[in-house]
């Protein structure tokens, strides 16, 4: 825990801050670096998409789009998918959070771990496992229940996306349920309310505002997703997969840009809607000092709820076991003979190149994303006033803008060499003749896509950190950067750890931007998985996913080792204590 103060520390910068910013060249340099990175990695590609989408020759496409029943169907598909995944994912998150915080049942720790598993899940893993288990000839759907269920389409997508994305909702709601003042529930109980009535009249109304944010976030992530619609979509086309097809199948960057813009509208609206919603001043408790204790439900009514959570957990476990088992059997469900061929192909055969490339790029991108995210957060929270929101916004573009859109932006902005006169000023970053075979743009995309994770956690930690602690350091004569290094950084180490871990996981599993940037020389695991999965070579796909997951978990350990587990600093720590 970092040093937390009971009330939210004021986020406003102390009066001396602006003088300090002007006077400190190091901070100016920092601002320039952050701004440049965000501009090259996010702003310019986005502008390139917008420029293409609003170029004169693109304008007639809008008329076509809004009169074509096919295109309108795609838009409707996208929105329906977002809404359903938002609702189902939030419901699943609530279910698990409720079980975790309010039921007196065994095995909650394991349930928590299972609910967190999808966070490190490689894309395609869940989708492919779903096809194998619950598809038309699925091991479970057909093998156990004798069904011939067609999983391709909306139902499959909602299932897979809800399963993969709900941990975000779960974590948010878990924090919120834990944050409710238990005395409020006790007061209701004390006045005679039953458990069910408390859930209905107290918990749910108090949580209702908290359900909106995860819904919107899942909506954004669902409509931005490219991997699952490609594997599982069947006839169900969404904007992301349509735009991808326009680039890779039809080489029509103009209509790709148009699809992108139409996808951007709900994405950005929902994403910023979500942030606005979270930043509103909501009061869930009336006075400080929560008191009382949580009363777990011990009656019979806990069992059906628990049963439901167990069922979902079983499905999650079945999906992940399928990935692992599928990577060591010939054709899981059909020919269950053990084989190490697939794993060998990945770690000792043609796949090793992709594994090493991916690992290298992610290893480069993670520290950059972590540090830049932290820097952006620090600048935003402490050192910038009027321009803070702009930098903050730039930093979060990597998650607010769908990956496919960003990828198309990279293609548009960085495929050609840029000359001024005969002088090459900006070499091509994307495509066959790209600088370092496209590695630069892949690393850049990794950084931009994973930067928001670190930035969010760091902003959260910094706003909780009372500015007086940093002021004490500056008072003693430390420069702003010294203060950051000696005082702030140690205090928010846990946030840095989380941020870096998220960044690494996001880089390793990132697919929607990357598939547009890979070149024959730079292979990336996720795009290998995609080609294996879409050609039905499930064993290889599973082997890649297993290796990928192993690398991500190993990466977490390495990051933990490098950053340190984060000193346990308690509330009682004083600013004087921190100075030593």
């Amino acid at each position: 825990m970092t040093l937390l103060l009971p009330e939210r520390a004021p986020t406003a910068t102390p009066p001396g801050a602006r003088r300090r910013r002007g006077g400190d060249p190091a901070i100016r340099l920092l601002i320039v670096v952050c701004v440049l990175l965000v501009a090259i990695g996010a702003a310019i590609p986005l502008i390139a998409v917008l420029a293409t989408a609003f170029a004169p020759d693109a304008l007639p496409r809008y008329a076509e789009f809004f009169t074509s029943s096919v295109d309108l169907g795609i838009l409707r598909n996208t929105l329906v998918l977002g809404a359903l995944v938002g609702a189902c994912g939030t419901a699943l998150g609530f279910l698990f959070a409720f079980v975790q915080t309010r039921l007196d049942v065994p095995g909650k720790k394991i349930l928590h771990v299972i609910a967190m598993m999808p966070i490190v899940s490689p894309p395609f893993a869940v989708a492919t496992a779903t096809v194998v288990l619950y598809g038309r000839r699925g091991v479970i759907s057909n093998g156990v229940f004798g069904l011939q269920y067609d999983i391709y389409g909306l139902d499959g997508l909602v299932f897979v996306l809800s399963m993969s994305l709900f941990p975000v909702a779960y974590l948010g709601l878990l924090g919120m349920l834990r944050g409710l003042d238990p005395a409020v529930e006790e007061a209701a109980m004390n006045l005679g309310a039953s458990r069910w009535r408390i859930l209905r009249t107290v918990i749910l109304p108090l949580l209702a505002p908290g359900l909106v944010a995860p819904f919107l976030l899942l909506f954004v992530e669902a409509i931005a997703d490219l991997a699952n619609p490609l594997v599982l979509g069947g006839d169900y086309t969404v904007l992301a997969s349509r735009a991808y097809l326009a680039v890779t199948g039809e080489y029509d960057l103009t209509s790709a840009s148009v699809y992108c813009v139409i996808l951007l509208v709900p994405s950005l609206a929902m994403y910023f809607g979500q942030r606005w919603w979270l930043n509103r001043k909501v009061r869930t408790t009336i006075t400080g000092r929560p008191s009382g204790s949580v009363h777990l439900i011990t009656g019979w009514s806990r069992w059906p709820i628990y049963g439901l959570a167990l069922l979902v957990a079983a499905v999650i476990v079945s999906l992940y076991s399928t990935v692992i088992i599928g990577s060591v059997t010939k054709v899981f469900g059909v020919d269950n003979t053990l084989t190490l061929d697939y794993l060998r192909e990945v770690v000792a055969g043609p796949g090793v190149e992709a594994v090493l490339d991916t690992l290298l790029f992610a290893a480069i991108a993670t520290p950059i994303a972590g540090v830049v995210g932290l820097m952006v957060a620090w600048l935003v929270v402490r050192h910038l006033r009027r321009t803070a929101w702009l930098l903050d916004l730039g930093g979060t573009l990597g998650v607010a803008v769908p990956g496919t859109v960003l990828g198309i932006g990279f293609v548009l902005a960085y495929r050609p060499d840029r000359y001024i006169g005969d002088f090459l000023v900006f070499p091509s970053l994307v495509g066959g003749s790209a600088l370092a075979a496209g590695a630069v743009s892949i690393v850049l995309a990794y950084v931009i896509r994973s930067l928001p994770a670190g930035q969010r956690t760091a902003v959260g930690a910094l706003t909780q950190l009372h500015p007086s602690i940093e002021e004490a350091s500056t008072d003693l004569g430390a420069s702003a950067l010294q203060t950051f290094r000696r005082v702030t950084l140690p205090l928010i180490r846990p946030a840095l750890l989380t941020g870096l871990s998220y960044s690494f996981a996001r880089s390793m599993t990132s697919v929607s931007t990357i598939v547009l940037l890979v070149t024959p020389e730079t292979k990336i695991i996720t795009s290998q998985v995609m080609s294996a999965a879409s050609t039905g070579r499930y064993g290889v796909a599973f082997a890649y996913c297993t290796v990928l997951t192993a690398i991500v978990l190993a990466g977490f350990l390495v990051i933990r080792f490098i950053v340190g587990a984060g000193a346990e600093l308690h509330r009682t720590a004083t600013s004087e204590g921190q100075q030593k």
Binding site: V184, E186, N190, S194, T284, G292
Partner: protein, 382 residues
């Protein structure tokens, strides 16, 4: 002040005048015990507490932090399951009932108002739960009465965070009162208010409590609060009840050194009684023979008994030679001036009300120290 008035048997029964007409709301704790089992072993938070709270009585649980006040209160409310003993209301055991079915209402330290409901909805919450027994009109009438008696008129439609701390406190009280509980429970309800408001709210709570005649248990660690509000005070220490008595008696006739020390300030002088007759001990302190009131368990000739001397009963007279004490230090507190005096019986604190700091006795001054023997009390060793 004369002494005779204070030499009387400790009062454990409250005055009859406190009993409300209805005669309901008689709460009894019978050997109530709570043990928490943790990783590091078992903590006995509440240890065989017996208590008889008469209908309409206002009882305060007072004691140092961690002595088990909150745990006791929460067992009465049903939020904690007792590990031993029982709780009876009007003779009926309720220890097995869940909190929902106990006829009590609690006012929480954090008020625990429902933040998503208006003041009116908060107050009506408990009434609506009794819908089977109450019509809409009845609910509205009860609500209006509560709002009026609690000075909340005009605030019904506000949300709790649009109220001041004192107003929130009153809403919490109103919400608890309208369900007509047999017992009202308070857990340090004033600790989030500033000093001035706290004093005003004490009187307010007491006024309302008397008006409705509801049996009340009030937890606090503020002895001033306990003294000024309670019919009787229960002093607790390490999970056990040390003394149950009226405020005046707790102060003048504490039953243990712990209570004497916890309530107000006290000097303790070790003194062996030479003779005891009818609760009056004869003993020699600082070279003078005195007669003082003694705790019933003190026996003649017993060693290690302590004479409690309140600082405000000590008088100092400066002398030129051969006093029985020397001034060590003086401290000015505004309304009073405190001296620490070195004597043959140890350091004794004396308080001079309205003392002028510019005329304070200088350090090293020789003084003749006397105290009001009528207000001293001989206590057994703990």
């Amino acid at each position: 002040m004369t002494a005779a008035a204070h030499v009387e048997a400790p009062i454990t029964e409250p005055a009859d005048a406190l009993r409300p007409e209805s005669g309901s709301g008689h709460l009894r704790l019978d050997g109530l015990t709570k043990q928490f089992r943790g990783r590091t072993g078992t903590v006995t938070a509440v240890d065989r507490v017996d208590l008889d709270v008469l209908p309409g009585e206002f009882i305060t649980l007072l004691g140092p932090s961690g002595c088990g006040k909150t745990t006791t209160l929460r067992m009465v409310a049903g939020f904690e399951q007792a590990t031993g003993g029982d709780i009876l209301i009007d003779g009926k055991a309720i220890g097995h009932l869940p909190p929902q079915r106990r006829p009590m209402a609690m006012v929480f330290q954090s008020y625990a108002l429902f933040p998503h409901m208006t003041v009116a909805e908060n107050i009506a919450y408990g009434l609506r739960l009794q819908r089977g027994q109450r019509s809409k009109d009845e609910i509205a009438t009860a609500m209006r009465m509560a709002v009026t008696s609690m000075n909340l008129v005009g605030m019904e439609e506000r949300s709790p965070h649009e109220l001041s701390g004192g107003q929130q406190q009153r809403v919490a009280l109103a919400r608890a009162l309208v369900v007509q509980p047999k017992v009202l429970l308070f857990d340090e309800p004033l600790s989030n208010l500033d000093a001035k408001l706290r004093t005003a709210m004490r009187a307010e709570i007491r006024r309302i409590q008397k008006m409705f005649g509801i049996t009340s248990i009030y937890v606090t660690h503020d002895q001033d609060e306990a003294m000024s509000m309670s019919d009787r005070i229960v002093v607790m220490n390490k999970g056990k009840v040390e003394q149950v008595a009226r405020p005046g008696e707790i102060y003048t006739r504490p039953t243990s050194v712990f209570v004497a020390d916890f309530i107000g300030h006290a000097n303790f002088v070790e003194a062996a009684p030479e003779r005891i007759e009818d609760g009056v001990a004869t003993l020699t302190v600082l070279g003078r023979q005195l007669t003082v009131a003694a705790h019933p368990t003190v026996a003649a000739g017993a060693n290690g008994t302590f004479l409690m001397i309140r600082p405000e009963t000590v008088r100092l007279t400066p002398v030129t030679s051969s006093g029985n004490g020397t001034v060590l230090r003086s401290t000015f507190h505004g309304p009073s001036l405190d001296y620490e005096i070195e004597t043959a019986a140890g350091t004794i604190t004396a308080t001079e009300q309205g003392g002028d700091p510019s005329e304070a006795l200088a350090e090293g001054t020789s003084v003749d120290l006397t105290f009001d023997a009528d207000r001293a009390y001989l206590l057994p060793r703990d």
